[in-house]
């Protein structure tokens, strides 16, 4: 307690104060570097706006001028060239399916691993945890053959179940530690009141997981939305292609000569993720640091 007033007397406060009033050279340089680095992050996302509204002629002669008119033709062409609308619809189904097959199973398993700790459940938990460290690349061949055998190849469930299997271990661990933070008295009290296992789980425990579940739904959505490799392997008919598969076809479809359309395509395909990030920035960063802390 004594430390606080002493610290003030050493001039720490004054130091902070003077820094605010007269920025040192180092501080200016660092601000400058940080701004440059931040613009390096944003610039590739802003540049397309310079080109996307231009006709090929306008682009050829004045590539760096601001667009004269807000022509939307390029967006229309890009949208139709690889059928982005259909891609978004497919991706949306995959996301929904991945959420439904990842979050509830993980929540239920996490609950058992947290509240019913026995030798058997502990072993089972380690088995699930091992799944967290399996790289998806390792199982691509059998996964493909399996989907073929189960007639799930080239279907959206075949894809989202594969995505779910790589998400379940992580979220089971998260739910397990989340349930462990809930007070044990809660369960005891309910038991005394005569509530059974089912009642305690569905009526008491599950409603308390709201914050963890929002995180799980959001990040599972983002993961399924972004998937490329599994979609590439498990889907092969055009009309089932997800947004990311269609995006990856852009260059081949449109060729390098249609740069303004390509720029429009970049804007359309990046926009949903960026909007999602702007809205849920805090949650997304929280979830990612959680994953980092767990890995670490």
């Amino acid at each position: 307690m004594k430390l606080q007033p002493d610290l003030k007397m050493t001039g720490l406060e004054d130091l902070e104060e003077s820094r605010k009033n007269r920025p040192s050279l180092a501080s200016v340089v660092i601000h400058l570097i940080l701004i440059i680095l931040a613009s390096a992050v944003i610039l590739p996302l802003i540049l397309p706006f310079l080109f996307a509204f231009k006709t090929p002629l306008e682009f050829a002669y004045h590539p760096w001028n601001l667009p004269q008119q807000f022509r939307l033709e390029n967006f229309q062409i890009a949208w139709e060239a690889v059928k982005l609308g259909q891609g978004m619809f497919n991706t949306f189904i995959v996301c929904l399916g991945a959420i439904l097959t990842t979050v509830p199973p993980a929540a239920m398993a996490g609950y058992i691993f947290s509240r019913y700790r026995t030798k058997v459940t502990n072993v089972l938990f380690y088995v699930v945890m091992a799944g967290f460290f399996v790289p998806a690349q390792m199982v691509l061949i059998p996964l493909y053959k399996l989907d073929l055998k189960l007639q799930l190849i080239n279907t959206l469930p075949g894809l989202f179940l594969a995505i779910a299997t790589f998400g379940i271990p992580f979220w089971t661990m998260i739910y397990r530690s989340f349930f462990s933070t809930l007070p044990a008295e809660l369960m005891e009290a309910a038991k005394i009141d005569g509530a059974g296992h089912w009642m305690i789980f569905f009526r008491i425990m599950l409603p308390l997981t709201k914050s963890a579940s929002i995180l799980a739904v959001l990040l599972t959505f983002m993961g399924a939305w972004s998937d490329f490799m599994l979609s590439l392997i498990l889907l092969n008919s055009q009309n089932l292609f997800t947004l990311q598969l269609r995006v990856s076809q852009f260059m081949g479809q449109m060729g390098a000569n249609y740069f303004p359309q390509y720029a429009a395509g970049v804007i359309i395909s990046a926009a949903p993720t960026i909007i999602l990030y702007i809205i849920f920035r805090k949650k997304i960063i929280e979830g990612t640091t959680l994953a980092g802390a767990l890995k670490g």
Binding site: A38, M108, P135, M138, P142, L146, S248, S269, A270, I284
Partner: protein, 302 residues
């Protein structure tokens, strides 16, 4: 009442067992079918001569032996280590610099910038690849367009994706742009957990920011730095999306990764056995790195 409860405790609680089984079943059903069975299968197939249609023939470790004379596989393996080395040397110091300055210069401007650095990390890899082509394309990419406008012939002639010497670095730069955000927020979270007294003590001792970074912050988060180094290494093992979409591994084998070799062998040449063997190698290498990680973890807990 009490005796009734006692007898209940003694007799086996079937309702509890059923409850446990029902709640564990969905997770284990999905994991069992789509992960554990495929893992076992990978090991089995890697010992077979297996292609899309023909019969499987047991050939022992022939697939593995064969791989080590496969130029593309060797290039992929080399790139894993090159990629890991350069990500550790370039991405970690850069991420640390941004994380440290953002947590130590708390002006309004910098607080606003913090969210920006992670933005590129949430973009799906297909979009990142598309942006990469948008910038590096030899005919009408951003750089070439800029070079034409400025009349810089030398810049116009640089083929960022077509030159075997440059392609690796172009993809690497793109990946750095895309992935560095994770390191930044991970380091920031760790730096913010450093006790305030340590910082105050450093200020009292007259340490400047750089001495503070060097002698307090780096040792305090050394664990996070090492973990990040391992995540970079494991990440380079799994690399597929970006190099595949931007350069398809080319030109030649200059940007080939293990993931690309696996995909080519398995899904373009239909050599299941060989592809499974590559899968096993990716797994074993990532297992080795994970073990290193856990031993670091134990060390830091002691």
């Amino acid at each position: 009442m009490a005796t009734a409860q006692n007898t209940m405790k003694k007799s086996f609680d079937w309702s509890e067992l059923i409850f446990k089984i029902v709640l564990l079943l969905p997770a284990f059903l999905i994991l069992g079918i789509f992960m554990f069975y495929p893992i076992v299968e990978t090991f089995r197939i890697s010992l077979m001569r297996a292609s899309g249609l023909g019969e499987e023939v047991f050939i022992g470790f022939y697939n593995y032996i064969k791989l080590f004379s496969n130029e593309e596989f060797l290039a992929g393996l080399l790139h894993v280590f090159q990629w890991a080395f350069w990500s550790v040397v370039i991405q970690i110091p850069l991420a640390f610099f941004i994380a440290f300055t953002c947590t130590n210069y708390k002006t309004r401007l910098i607080k606003g910038l913090r969210g920006v650095y992670y933005l590129s990390n949430v973009l799906p890899s297909a979009i990142t690849a598309m942006l990469g082509l948008f910038i590096f394309q030899p005919n009408s990419g951003v750089i070439v367009t800029l070079a034409k406008t400025l009349g810089w012939g030398w810049l116009e002639r640089i083929d960022f994706l077509g030159d075997p010497k440059l392609a690796f670095w172009s993809v690497f730069a793109l990946a750095t742009w895309a992935y560095i955000g994770f390191g930044i927020i991970y380091f920031m979270a760790n730096i913010e957990q450093i006790p305030a007294e340590l910082r105050e003590a450093a200020v009292i001792d007259g340490a400047n920011k750089w001495q503070y970074a060097r002698y307090i912050v780096v040792p305090q988060i050394s664990y996070a730095l090492r973990i990040q180094a391992i995540l970079c290494t494991v990440g380079s093992l799994k690399l597929f999306d970006l190099p595949w979409m931007v350069t398809t591994g080319g030109p030649g084998t200059s940007t080939v990764t293990l993931g690309i070799t696996l995909y080519r062998e398995g899904f373009l040449n239909w050599q299941y056995g060989k592809a499974a063997a590559i899968g096993v190698i990716i797994f074993l290498l990532s297992l080795a790195f994970t073990i290193v990680q856990f031993s670091l973890q134990r060390e830091s807990q002691n």
